[in-house]
């Protein structure tokens, strides 16, 4: 971890705010995320955490503030200044986005292999054998039987679809992963398996992660740092273990206390 | 011995002669006159004018006769003719408030200024085939005088602020015209309404029906349906003032729909609008239902149902385009079919080879 402190941050949020008319999405959110760091954003529904994720992935534009990202060439750019083509390319190569509902992040009408291979084809890979080889490799890494490469995602279980979504995102070796309740809607045992996989992959690949979740246990397992949000504002932030073991804010204390003991 | 087929030209010629023969039918039966079609099949004429996008009863009647009663074929004839006519400008917007009303009803109010005027309607007839029409029917006495102008229900609601105002265009805004510019998405309301006005009655009817059954429900009330004559006015550049060109019959439907408000506005009813040439209630009502459904995006409603899907609806309303493409399947496609046959045969032989290979392996193993 000490090495990353000498590098520039990968992702910077500066005073990010979003409001919808009189409705507040989030207000004045700032943080810096380094390579290899995983940060959880926790809160109840309505806390603004999903709005924040959508701002970071440029799916929506901020009312105030900005998002800065360090490109592969080392230059840190304001995402609002990028053209649509550049943004789309980033979203396809350097970033991953894991949706809570895998059907949102997959093409349900094409095979698993095509799903994983699509990003490669979008950046110019033109060798069927190599595309298929890479897809096979990634299916293996997310613990999906490669023999199922030609099956459609409809034939996959919920947990498998989620793992397929992860593979589809990782195939271009992104540096930043944004995850929106990746274990939501999954069985407890299936969740555990997925979390284990995510933990292993993010460590192996030195991914930076922003993970939105309402589940503190998931946050503890996957993240180094945590931001607690309520009513659109960040009320507490710090190292995950510290914040969860010794919450300072009353609201955080309430959240932590309400976790049912295992 | 096979000889290459020739004589496509001759075949076409003969087909046309046969068509003309069948169009006339039994020569001992009197030939249909355009006056008969105009006068006694007036609702067919109205539909052909509306979807043909050209107001001319005589030409529409001719098209119906030439098309042997196939209304979409007649609509096509009228459209093709329209495309050859020179355009000298755009009329002033029709003022349906000044309509010489012959029929006007409102489902929203029991009674209203001007009253509920039933006019000539099928609505309360019993659908029993009338054998007296087989011969010359008894002619009914002449119709009553038109009632004249009467105030619009919607205007009464609007005066109280209960319904959203009709969006006003800026004076220098150019009205979109589908016959001049290709349709692009997202489309503004003026183009959407023009598209719907020319659109197939059956398609719009089904879409409107679907909204009532829950596919994009808009809680419609028939605020007002009126039928009558309106004046068409035009400002020629040389004169600089308005002159009347003549009268046309139109049917107008204003639907009152689901109310909504926002953070800054109190709730109000919303509108759906339909307008058709001639006496075309079904068309104008369906059009109003679909118009409202297509406004989902601008009213901030979730777009879920087919009738709300702008691209889907507007791309498929034109029955002349639709019939052209559907019927074009009758044209020769044997070259492409040949190409498909080739691939299919190849895939099948590979399948057989694989199966033969697998079974011979099995035999070897046994």
């Amino acid at each position: 971890m000490t090495d990353t402190l000498q590098e520039e941050p990968l992702l910077i949020a500066e005073g990010l705010s979003k409001s919808y008319g009189r409705q507040l999405g989030c207000r004045d959110v700032s943080f810096e995320l380094y390579e290899g760091e995983a940060m959880a954003v926790v809160g109840e529904s309505g806390s603004g955490k999903t709005t924040l994720l959508n701002l970071l992935s440029t799916q929506i534009a901020p009312t105030a503030g900005r998002v800065l990202y360090r490109m592969r060439d080392g230059v840190t750019r304001d995402l609002a200044a990028l053209g649509e083509a550049e943004c789309r390319l980033l979203a396809r190569t350097d970033w991953g986005f894991v949706h809570q509902d895998p059907a949102m992040g997959l093409r349900m009408g094409v095979s698993a292999g095509a799903n994983v291979g699509e990003r490669l084809m979008a950046v110019g890979w033109r060798h069927y054998g190599r595309i298929r080889g890479s897809a096979t490799n990634w299916l293996h890494r997310v613990e999906i039987d490669p023999a199922r490469i030609d099956d459609m995602p409809v034939t996959y279980s919920g947990g498998m679809r989620q793992r397929l979504q992860v593979a589809r995102n990782l195939v271009t070796q992104p540096r930043l992963m944004l995850m929106d309740e990746p274990t939501g809607g999954l069985d407890v045992s299936v969740q555990a398996r997925l979390l284990d996989l995510l933990r292993g992959l993010t460590a192996d690949l030195e991914l930076s992660v922003v993970l939105v979740t309402h589940d503190l246990a998931v946050a503890r397992l996957l993240s180094h740092r945590i931001m607690v949000m309520r009513d659109g504002e960040v009320i507490e932030a710090g190292l995950t273990d510290q914040v969860l073991d010794d919450p300072q804010e009353p609201y955080t204390q309430l959240l932590v206390a309400s976790i049912l003991p295992p | 011995m096979y000889v290459a087929a020739k004589g496509g030209e001759k075949a076409i010629e003969n087909a046309h002669r046969l068509l003309a023969h069948e169009r006339r039918g039994d020569p001992s039966v009197p030939e249909l006159s355009l006056d008969q079609i105009k006068g006694q099949l007036r609702l067919a004429v109205d539909r052909v004018m509306c979807e043909g996008s050209l107001y001319d009863r005589e030409l529409a009647a001719l098209a119906i006769k030439q098309a042997c009663g196939d209304l979409i074929e007649a609509i096509f004839l009228l459209r093709a003719f329209r495309a050859t006519l020179p355009r000298f400008g755009a009329s002033e917007p029709l003022d349906t408030g000044e309509m010489a009303v012959r029929r006007r009803i409102s489902a929203a109010f029991k009674d209203l200024p001007g009253g509920q005027v039933l006019g000539p309607t099928f609505d309360y007839t019993h659908r029993l085939l009338d054998p007296t029409l087989q011969g010359a029917g008894a002619s009914e006495p002449g119709c009553a005088e038109p009632i004249g102008a009467m105030p619009r229900v919607i205007d009464i609601l609007a005066a109280e602020g209960l319904i959203e105002p009709s969006p006003r265009a800026r004076p220098d805004d150019r009205v979109g015209d589908l016959t001049q510019d290709p349709l692009g998405f997202p489309a503004d309301r003026d183009l959407r309404l023009q598209n719907l006005a020319r659109g197939d009655e059956g398609f719009l009817l089904a879409l409107g029906y679907s909204t009532q059954r829950g596919y994009g429900r808009t809680h419609p009330f028939a605020g007002e349906i009126r039928l009558g004559e309106v004046e068409v006015e035009f400002v020629p550049q040389e004169l600089g003032f308005c002159i009347p060109l003549g009268e046309i019959t139109v049917t107008e439907c204003q639907m009152i729909n689901q109310f909504r408000g926002s953070a800054t506005e109190p709730p109000r009813f919303t509108r759906g609008y339909g307008l058709a040439f001639g006496h075309s209630e079904r068309k104008s009502m369906a059009m109003a239902l679909v118009d409202r459904a297509l406004r989902a995006r601008e009213l901030g409603e979730e777009v879920k149902a087919p009738a709300q899907d702008e691209e889907f609806v507007l791309s498929h309303t034109d029955n002349v385009q639709a019939t052209g493409f559907v019927e074009h399947l009758k044209l020769p496609h044997h070259v492409d079919f040949q190409a498909e046959l080739g691939l299919l045969r190849r895939l099948r032989s590979e399948f057989e080879q694989e199966r033969a290979g697998a079974s011979s392996l099995q035999e070897a193993a046994e």
Binding site: A85, E118, R126, H127 | L62, A83, T84, G324, L331, A339
Partner: protein, 291 residues
């Protein structure tokens, strides 16, 4: 009632001007679909109105027009369109590819190589190559603007995964001048290579969908494929029963109800030219059993 008076080649000058502007834009951006305000024509949408409007806009009184459908001058729709132009333009018409200055075609490119003085006008039903993968026009426009063609290759990948081959046999997508992906119209893929570095101007008209696009002369056109599954120029393995050609696209003709069949050149002018050159006047029945 006013009897309509028709302009040369039916369309009024204003419409021709509008279409020519669209054509110029199309030629300036090879393979890009330019929207235009298609007119209702006297033949139905789907029966060549796009091609007819393009031809009507470029035709001059000195042009010589050839019209083919499925490669032949004598198919019903080719006859109908040719007669339309005879009636409305009075131009000379021909069945000879070499003598024509404007060739309007449906679903085939002539076998004989074209020259710089010629224009080939294609009739196009669905101009958008991505349409069956992505029905929304708003999305496909963006994909073209951003050269975002991954989805196209996903389709080809799926074909190979499912069938072992790319399963597109006609309307095979191509990339024009290294930039825009284009649908060449439902010509068999056999014809794709002819579009590349062609000396003639190639214009594509879609009336119902209201798009026109172009390949300028001497422009590179590549069929999409994978390195290890390269584009195959499929041709039925056989020779023409009339002229003996073994390099032209063949039509299969069923001769009896016991599976009897023979194969003849789809391009009737090519076939007749070969026959008159070799002096062969009789058919050689039975000489074309495919292997």
């Amino acid at each position: 009632m006013n009897a309509p008076v028709y302009n040369f080649a039916y369309l009024d000058e204003q419409t021709k001007r509008m279409i020519r502007r669209a054509i110029l834009k199309a030629v300036a951006i090879p393979g890009y679909q330019v929207p235009f305000a298609s007119r209702e024509m006297p033949m139905p949408y789907g029966w060549g109105t796009g091609g007819v409007q393009v031809t009507a806009s470029i035709l001059g009184p000195d042009d010589v027009l050839k019209v083919i459908d499925q490669g032949s001058d004598d198919t019903t729709n080719a006859v109908s369109i040719r007669n339309f132009f005879i009636k409305t333009a009075g131009v000379r018409t021909t069945t000879s590819t070499g003598d024509a200055t404007v060739i309007q075609t449906r679903h085939r490119i002539p076998e004989a190589a074209l020259g710089e003085h010629q224009i080939l006008v294609f009739q196009v039903p669905i101009p958008e190559p991505l349409r069956f993968l992505e029905p929304r026009e708003t999305e496909t426009r963006r994909m073209h603007a951003l050269a975002d063609y991954g989805l196209m290759h996903v389709k080809l990948y799926e074909d190979i995964a499912r069938h072992g081959h790319i399963a597109t046999t006609y309307a095979y997508p191509v990339k024009v001048d290294g930039r825009y992906v284009m649908d060449p119209s439902p010509t068999p893929k056999f014809d794709n290579p002819k579009m590349s570095n062609c000396a003639a101007l190639q214009l594509f008209g879609a009336g119902r969908e209201k798009r026109v696009y172009a390949i300028p002369p001497h422009t590179g056109v590549e069929s999409l494929d994978f390195e290890d599954h390269p584009f195959e120029r499929y041709r039925l393995d056989g020779t023409c029963a009339f002229c003996g050609a073994n390099d032209s696209f063949l039509d299969e003709v069923i001769t009896d109800d016991r599976g009897g069949r023979m194969f003849v050149c789809s391009d009737t002018d090519y076939c007749e030219t070969r026959r008159s050159q070799s002096g062969a006047a009789e058919t050689r029945a039975g000489a074309s059993v495919p292997r």
